[in-house]
Amino acid sequence: MARTLITAPSSARRGEVITLRVLLQHPMESGFRVGADGQLLPRDIVRHFSCSYNGERVIAVELFPAIAANPYLEFSALALDSGTLDFVWEGDRGFRHSEQRTISVA
């Protein structure tokens, strides 16, 4: 179970632009580094992140080995109705992690 840090407002005004910041604890092993035994360390990265708001896409990001460890993303969404924000990370070795936040829009 990966640890995450998600900054999302729990309430917003209708039509407000909300800033979302997400950070996932993950080594993002690039597959280009050499270990102590001289062998290449196998790649283990998060390849894909997506965020949806009540089932509708906010953002979809394709990540590559040049993303730093503990991938951090900051983006924004338009608050139109109350509901849930879904955050999903997918990566190598069958990695998958999802988080959910609720938001009430007045």
Binding site: Y53, F64, I67, A68
Partner: protein, 139 residues
């Protein structure tokens, strides 16, 4: 003889990994733009031009002031990491501003290339040269 073999073996082990070539960078950009000619402007890449630590470099790619529906996708490429791609972003109907921030790795001083693909198919580019004092451990 044994020592020479050892030295040779060591030489093989410490060979640096191949850096991405300008051709690889051009190919990566082409796969994103679909061969559309690149024009300067519109897209903005915010990154410090002097980077202390290449292991985690904050960057922001955005298309400031663009109507939400106008920008289809953003991408960031690098010149001299082992792989040219850094990040590709698709925006959905719920996205507000066309802006994304993250932290990246830089293997050495190099050029970063931000590309925006607009809904009408045109592609816009900004290139920024950055100097890295402490390189990332090879991505």
């Amino acid at each position: 003889m044994k020592r020479r073999a050892l030295v040779m073996a060591a030489g093989i082990v410490v060979l640096p990994p191949a850096w991405a070539t300008p051709e690889a960078l051009a190919a990566a950009i082409r796969s994103f733009t679909g061969g559309e000619p690149l024009r300067e402007g519109k897209v903005q890449l915010d990154v410090a031009t002097l980077v202390d630590n290449g292991n985690t470099v904050p960057v922001t790619v955005s298309v400031p002031g663009a109507p939400a529906a106008e920008v289809a996708a953003l991408a960031l490429f690098n010149e001299r990491n082992p792989q040219s791609d850094v990040l590709r972003v698709d925006f959905g109907p719920r996205a507000a501003t066309r802006s994304v921030s993250t932290r990246i790795r830089l293997a050495t001083s190099q050029q970063l290339v931000a590309v925006a693909r607009l809904a009408d198919g045109s592609c816009w580019v900004q290139r920024v040269d950055v100097v890295v004092t402490l390189a990332a451990c090879i991505e």
